[in-house]
């Protein structure tokens, strides 16, 4: 526990809204020097947003509430101001310049100079001292790009310390680390704790949280559920606090008539294209039947999207495994193979992967099924327009006409356009990856109704979502992924939020022992 009497950081009643969403709603959080305070919660609970408020990413008037450092109210107008106040945030995406050396990165922006000329010897000796201090055996003259992700993360921590950070925020620091690297990191964190640095530790991995933290704060839906000493909590109680939300009745009742197996993937293994030997998906198998909604739950980075991308022939990493459609083994090496076999894929991040924002609704809707809808070489705009207008009515896309530019639509309507694109390929099985991310409640409900309608009409649906209530409310069966492996399978009425979250955090054994 913290040694000092008063906290070095207090955040009082923090609120932050994005258009249509209230991301933080009166969050209170504090930190003492010399403690590790874990911040946990489901995806979208507001952890990262809270830390962006602290780190000055959202400058002062963009949020509500008070931030106090050493008891004095501070209003950071920029990341730089927060850094000057001794706050260092290490994000999941590292902010090192890969082409520059370790030493240059650590001292970046504060190079020792004489008459404006950088004094390299002093720079490198300072960097070496910092690395030494952390027991890191790294040559400061090596370019950062030559290091693995894990070592880069450690360099980033060294950089934070060189700025004399007293408050260090670590956002999922172990997501890309190997087991030995995790141990090195923990050694460093313990050392920093003894040096009275206050640390905020964000992680989905509850075993790490329990091993390292002094206190745990649970966030849910942008509110603080509670803060308590780690010694007085256990994993089951933390999980209950994370999910403790009623699965609303916004999910239409559905009773899907399930038919024969349409799509089966066996023993799928996917290697990280950037990190050799790291498996994103580890011998995962699943199958889905006609008229069935199969939910795939799991936390961010569990390999859900990687699994779908791989079986769709669109993953950059090497993958092994077998794919069967209606019982026949098939080869899928490119997305067009999958599409021709009747697989549709509403990908996550519609702006990046789903839509051509500059083009019309019609062009977006017909691009995947173009040869079927229009002609193999000559296009027929009118039969396309007719199909597009039918889709627009069916999915209730609200726009002037099919010739409206897709980029001008709201998120919900954009998502419907992406859905229409894949329905127009006439699929037998449809993958949906985060189909309701970033859209409002009304549009969500419409998407839910469409999912149920499509299942009723006999489509096999695989649904990936970070929103647990969504997976539980729509799926006939739920698979849970944790670190690339399938750690649980539930039928519709067996799937409770607690049980699924336990599997997703890799703690299913704890739960089953209790119940």
């Amino acid at each position: 526990m913290g040694a000092s009497e008063s906290p070095i950081l207090e955040m009082r009643n923090i609120t932050k809204s994005f258009p249509g969403v209230r991301a933080l709603d009166g969050v209170t959080f504090d930190l003492y020097s010399g403690e590790i305070h874990a911040l946990v919660g489901e995806n979208g609970a507001g952890k990262s947003t809270l830390m962006k408020v602290l780190g000055g990413v959202y400058p002062h008037p963009q949020y509500g509430g008070e931030v106090l450092i050493d008891g004095a109210a501070r209003r950071f107008g920029s990341v730089r101001e927060a850094e000057h106040a001794g706050i260092a945030v290490i994000y999941q995406e590292l902010s090192l310049v890969k082409e520059m050396t370790i030493g240059e990165n650590i001292i970046l922006g504060r190079e020792p100079r004489r008459f404006g000329v950088v004094r390299w010897e002093e720079l490198y000796s300072r960097a070496a001292k910092l690395l030494d201090d952390l027991n890191l055996r790294l040559d400061p003259r090596v370019p950062v790009g030559h290091l693995g992700i894990g070592q880069q993360q450690l360099v980033e921590i060294a950089k934070a310390l060189s700025q004399e950070a007293r408050i260090l925020v670590l956002d999922e620091p172990t997501a890309a680390l190997t087991d030995t690297e995790v141990e090195t990191l923990f050694g460093i964190l313990n050392k920093l704790r003894s040096r009275q640095v206050g640390m905020v530790y964000i992680s989905h991995k509850l075993d790490e949280v329990f091993r390292m933290s002094d206190r745990i704060t649970v966030l849910r839906d942008g509110r603080t559920v509670g803060t308590e000493a780690t010694s007085r909590l256990d994993e089951a109680r933390v999980i209950a606090r994370m999910v403790g939300r009623e699965v609303g009745s916004i999910f239409p009742e559905a009773d899907h008539q399930r038919g024969e197996v349409v799509f089966e993937a066996r023993d799928i293994t996917v290697e990280d294209p950037n990190v050799k030997g790291k498996l994103l998906v580890d011998h995962a198998s699943f199958s889905v039947r006609r008229g069935e909604v199969l939910g795939i739950a799991g936390l961010m980075g569990a390999g859900r999207s990687d699994l779908l991308m791989a079986v769709f022939g669109a993953h950059a990493g090497r993958f092994t495994g077998e794919i069967l459609i209606e019982g026949r083994p098939v080869r899928v090496t490119r997305p067009s193979d999958a599409i021709n076999l009747g697989v549709g894929f509403v990908t996550e991040d519609r702006k990046r992967f789903g839509l051509i924002l500059d083009q019309t609704i019609l062009n977006n809707m017909t691009i995947a099924g173009l040869k079927r809808l229009s002609g193999s070489f000559l296009t027929d705009v009118d039969s396309e327009a007719a199909a597009g207008e039918r889709s627009m009515k069916e999915l209730r896309v609200k726009a002037n006409s099919v010739f409206t530019v897709a980029g001008t639509l709201s998120g919900g309507n954009q998502q419907k356009v992406v859905l229409a694109k894949w329905l127009l390929t006439n699929p037998r099985v449809l993958f949906l990856d985060e189909p309701t991310r970033g859209i409002d409640v009304g549009a969500k409900q419409e998407i839910y109704a469409q999912i149920n309608r499509l299942a009723r009409e006999g489509l096999a649906i695989v649904l990936v979502s970070s929103e647990l209530p969504e997976v539980l409310g729509l799926s006939d069966r739920v698979l849970v992924l944790h670190e690339g492996r399938i750690t649980g399978e539930f039928k519709r009425n067996e799937a409770t939020p607690e049980a699924v979250m336990a599997c997703a955090t890799g703690h299913n054994k704890t739960i089953s022992a209790e119940s």
């Binding site: 769709f312 067009s336 599409i339 062009n363 296009t379 009118d382 001008t408 694109k421 409900q445």
Partner: protein, 415 residues
């Protein structure tokens, strides 16, 4: 940008959703519009007409500026000069059509000028083999070079800027080496006529009649197809206008050209290339995929489109058209030389950009690129008529290029 209403309550105050869909006029999200004074125009339409408007303004200005005692109504649009202007547009225009496809696919080709030089040189050097092989060699050389560039970009993942910058230097080196500093005269009369000949006036009239008939037929068929699909059909007035206005343009054009001996063959070649290019980009799956590849490569790939295939194809088309442009250019000059075609790539790129093509890929039309080529040629031709010095001409052209893009960006920001 519009946003969804911030509400945590499930759709209570929304209009009831019934099985029958409400007409899509309620609660719609609008097409972006641009305000000009009291007028509001759909932005996309505005963009298409801006450059046409600019061309008309430039033409009127040059026409007024060239009024003299010998030409009381102005010299610029006089059939003599107009025919010359179009001939000057032809080579850049042909290249601009190819460049458009490359840029729409999100790439760039800086090697075009050197390829024109090389293809023209080889055609001139192979005249001894006979007319067919000589002409074919230019196209084949262009096509092969395009295929090499395309493969390096698509399969070796080398950025197009680098590949074609290398091509710009290397192919120029090859021409200089093969031509050995000499100028090779075009001796074959048919070859020469590609640059200097005319489509016979009668044939020109026949083509015009054919074009007008095709236009009428296609408009009619289009309307009946839309009726069959249950789509809204434009009224008879609109249909007549859609046929009549282009018909008048075609008729005036043929009449003007025929007073000068007919449509110049370079212009005929250019118009044919432009028509095929417009058709390929607007009416085929290939064209649609090309725009998708340039507009959002990730989304295109996930929609089952081969990025590599389309990038390779775009460079092949560009290469073949460079060969064709080389024939027209060499024939018009009457000879091939080592430095032929220098800086032509920049004219072609400028034509595309002035015509509203986005260098980011995914946006632009063949019509726009041709318009851009015509604007560039009009400035060249008009300023020469006005005896503007060459250095001033370059400054004006540079300023027009930057202003065209600046205007376009301004229009985009307002939405």
């Amino acid at each position: 940008m519009s946003h969804e209403a911030p509400t945590n309550e499930p759709a209570i105050d929304r209009p009831p959703v019934t099985a029958d869909v409400a007409p899509p006029t309620v609660d719609v999200e609008g097409t972006p519009q641009t305000r000009i004074g009291r007028f509001r125009l759909p932005t996309t339409t505005l963009r298409a007409y801006t450059m046409l408007f600019a061309l008309v303004v430039i033409w009127l200005f040059l026409q007024l500026a060239t009024i003299s005692e010998t030409h009381p109504y102005g010299l610029f649009l006089d059939p003599v000069n107009f025919s010359k202007l179009l001939k000057q547009t032809a080579v850049t225009g042909i290249l601009a059509v190819g460049m458009l496809m490359v840029i729409v696919a999100g790439q760039i080709d800086l090697s075009v000028g050197s390829v024109v030089g090389l293809a023209g040189g080889i055609a001139a050097l192979t005249q001894g083999w006979g007319l067919g092989p000589s002409l074919a060699s230019a196209i084949v050389v262009g096509l092969v070079i395009g295929a090499i560039h395309g493969s390096l970009v698509a399969y070796a993942n080398i950025p197009a800027f680098i590949v074609t910058l290398g091509g710009l230097l290397a192919w120029r080196g090859v021409v200089l080496w093969r031509m050995k500093g000499a100028t090779v005269t075009i001796e074959l009369p048919v070859f020469r006529s590609i640059g200097e000949g005319f489509v016979a006036p009668v044939a020109g009239i026949a083509l015009a009649v054919l074009a007008i008939a095709a236009l009428a037929f296609l408009t009619f068929r289009r309307n009946s197809a839309r009726r069959r699909h249950g789509l809204t059909v434009a009224g008879t007035g609109a249909a007549v206008a859609r046929v009549l206005i282009p018909s008048i343009v075609i008729a005036v054009f043929i009449y003007m050209m025929n007073t000068q001996g007919g449509v110049p063959i370079p212009v005929f070649v250019f118009l044919t290339v432009a028509l095929i290019g417009a058709f390929l980009t607007q009416n085929t799956t290939f064209g649609r995929y090309l725009y998708a590849v340039g507009g959002n490569p990730d989304a295109a790939r996930l929609s089952g489109i081969s990025l590599r295939g389309h990038i390779l194809a775009a460079f092949c088309v560009m290469g073949a058209l460079s060969g064709l442009a080389a024939l027209v250019y060499t024939a018009r000059n009457g000879s091939a030389a080592g430095d032929a075609g220098t800086l032509m790539e920049l004219d072609a790129i400028a034509a595309c950009v002035i015509g509203g093509t986005s260098l980011m890929g995914g946006r632009g039309t063949v019509f726009g690129a041709c318009l851009g080529a015509l604007i560039m040629a009009s400035l060249d031709n008009g300023m020469s008529l006005l005896n503007v010095e060459n250095n001033v001409q370059l400054i004006v052209k540079g300023a027009v290029l930057v202003a065209a893009v600046g205007f376009d960006m301004l229009g985009r920001q307002r939405t």
